[in-house]
């Protein structure tokens, strides 16, 4: 607790309102900082085309983004999801996490089960976020959603009940003025992206969706039905954002085996305006390309491939954006740690070199450096050569342990 206070005091002294280096793993960070998460986003070096990466990923085409662990794949996925939720063109992003609970490659049917639930959650969220009291839903829309909501799971039901509690009575003045009721999205592990207001019309819809008897035996049929429900609600295009392929197994065979059933159905998905956007480990890049060419008999459609790469300039921007996002107010912001270091230490250059092109590694090293500095001199806000020397020794020791 005391260590946390020392670090907290340091963060305040350097003019920040929260610690932007505490958790460099995207999903954990999303849970920790919630509504500030998207303010961290910084653009990596796009390896292909002049068009921005986000715009390219929104195109109606299968897309594969490859990167090493900690290269920002999940952050990009989450930012793409947020973009789909805030720049509206009839696209529904379905976040499909292949997480640590998966012990072996999934069958085609198992993918269907998991996708059905993922679709229901993201569809419900999108409907609430885009709800307008000027256009209350039709009875057909409500009935179809009620049937689909049975596949959403207990967490989604908990969210809906929480929203109703917040909305009764619907006093706008009590609402968070930036997010409204969407502050509750943390219940389903999401961060808010826009203000969502309360209204009697929305309250009426939510009441219809409180259905305790959730179904567990889901199938592809539920997924396809969910797509038709989404179309009924005005969505025209669907992006499946697949991530977490390397959460458990890291052999190329295991990772490819996990996603192969999805790769096989890319053509049939595309017929229904459904496009996979896969965020994958770089180890399977050529395997995926080969698989597509072999099993889909020469890609009949345009596929977008990209690699997450960070050059020094991109890493510096990332660092600057972290500081900027955590600033207490307008004023000078630290573009990096050089402004907090003794002259000529060139700390930022050292940090970026040590990070070896990995944003997660960079943020982790910065976090460690802060701890090292505070252990040496908790009252000072200036890093010095000694801090860096200790940090560098630790990095070398860690590298030696890893290679053994």
């Amino acid at each position: 607790m005391e260590e946390k206070n020392i670090r907290g005091n340091f963060i305040k002294k350097i003019g920040l309102n929260h610690d932007p280096f505490e958790t460099p793993v995207a999903e954990q960070e999303l849970t920790r900082v919630q509504d500030r998460f998207y303010s961290y986003f910084s653009v990596p070096l796009a390896s292909s085309s002049q068009e921005g990466l986000l715009r390219r990923l929104r195109r109606p085409q299968p897309s594969f983004v490859f990167g090493n662990p900690g290269s920002g794949k999940s952050t990009l996925r989450l930012t793409l999801d947020a973009d789909c939720r805030t720049v509206l063109d009839g696209t529904l992003a379905i976040n499909y996490m292949l997480g640590e609970d998966i012990e072996r490659p999934l069958s085609y049917e198992e993918h269907g089960t998991r996708l059905a639930r993922a679709l229901t959650i993201d569809l419900t969220l999108a409907i609430i976020e885009q709800f307008s009291p000027l256009h209350p839903p039709t009875s057909n829309q409500i009935e179809s959603l009620k049937r689909q909501i049975l596949t959403g799971g207990r967490q989604l039901q908990r969210l809906l009940r929480t929203l109703l509690e917040k909305m009764t009575p619907p006093e706008e003045s009590d609402m968070n003025p930036v997010w409204g009721i969407s502050q509750a999205w943390k219940i389903i592990g999401k961060a808010p992206t826009k203000y969502v207001g309360a209204s009697k019309e929305l309250e009426n819809v939510l009441r219809e969706l409180i259905l305790p008897n959730q179904r567990d035996n889901l199938s592809w049929g539920d997924f396809w039905y969910g797509i038709s429900v989404a179309q009924e609600w005005g969505f025209k295009r669907f992006l499946i954002l697949a991530d977490g392929v390397d959460a458990r197994q890291r052999t190329p065979d295991a990772m490819l085996g996990l996603i192969a059933p999805l790769l096989d159905i890319i053509p049939s998905l595309e017929e229904k305006n459904i496009y996979p956007k896969m965020f994958l480990p770089v180890e399977i890049k050529s395997r995926v390309k080969d698989y597509l060419e072999t099993h889909l008999k020469g890609l009949p459609f345009e596929v977008f491939f990209s690699i997450m790469e960070w050059d020094d300039a991109a890493m510096r921007r990332l660092l600057a954006q972290r500081f900027r996002a955590a600033m207490s107010g307008s004023g000078p912001y630290h573009a990096g740690l050089d402004s907090l270091a003794t002259p000529n230490l060139n700390l930022d250059e050292k940090l970026i070199n040590a990070a070896e092109g990995s944003p997660r590694r960079l943020l982790g090293i910065v976090s460690n450096l802060i701890d090292i500095h505070l252990a040496r001199d908790p009252d000072s806000i200036q890093f010095n050569q000694k801090d860096w020397d200790i940090c560098q020794q630790k990095l070398e020791m860690d590298a030696a342990i890893r290679s053994n």
Partner: protein, 359 residues
Amino acid sequence: MFSCDDYDQDVFVDRPAALAKMRAWADTAAVERRVMPLVAPPGGGKSWILKNLEQGWNSAGDRFVVYMDVPSLVDLDKNGSALIKMDGLEKWLQEVEAAAAQRYSIQSISRVPQLQAILSEFARLICDCNPVKDPIILVDGYDELSEAQAEVFSSQILKPLHERDCIRLIIAHRPECNVKGDSLRTNQHDPKLFLHELDPLSPKFALDQFKRLFQKARPRQTPPELSAWMTELKHYKWNHPLANCFFFKLGMNSSWAKLTGQDLKDGCKRIIERPDNTGRLRFPLHDDGFKMLHRIANELPDQWSQDPFQETLNIPNMNIDATYQALYKVGAIIISPDIPPFYQICDGLRDLLREFELP
């Protein structure tokens, strides 16, 4: 005579590079990023550029353009949901709906308590009409909001208008002000449009400005020759539109008496604090802040880095010094985008501060 704050087409001095860039961006059929930041220090001409763009596009008639004066829509003394002035917003909405109805076949929007729903609906109706040229909303005065206010304003007003992909925003703000709202930030044009870099102002600009102001105030008289009067100032390069206007007005009223130290101090304060037409200071600066600013201008070079600054002013840490921080808040100090960054007082203001001494 004339106002240095209210836009007047007769006294607008051309900013050719900035206007050309804005128009080119507006005319590009499909842009990746639909938010254009228009950045300049205080009194640098942002509002004037926006008004000129509005006038030009309205005259051409081929684009729907809307001007949004942020301070008229908010109560700057309030926070949270109380920030938005519903009567101000309703008035703006009615004007905008009426203008839109002349161009598009759209119905007026029912008024519901959720103003975001109304604004979202407006954006949807416009975009469903498939306008040939993307409508543009010109957002002025955004930097008068505090950080917390800007979060609310972006969330409740700007984001709903931005969420359909046919509408673009041009948001004018000072260099140290950040546009809040992540979807607005990630959709910002990069690089930002820095007015003072595109059309760096010159004595020729100042003379052109003066001639137009004089003709407005005294249309039957010939403008006097000003070179001698202007060159009495040794440091100031007549490169700040608002300062120029202020001093030209003083000069006309005093028959071109030499500008005194008090005149110059008043000019500096005017540039920074920008009283509105009720006398309210939009960006108040405490005396301590003004004194520090004067010291910085006179004891440091044009650009400085952290260590010389802290040593010269005997400040342990510039990043947490409240007086120094206040200078950012009022837009008097800007950071260069270099890494490591340099700091400077905005052009024009720095040179004016070197023209007089403080007791």
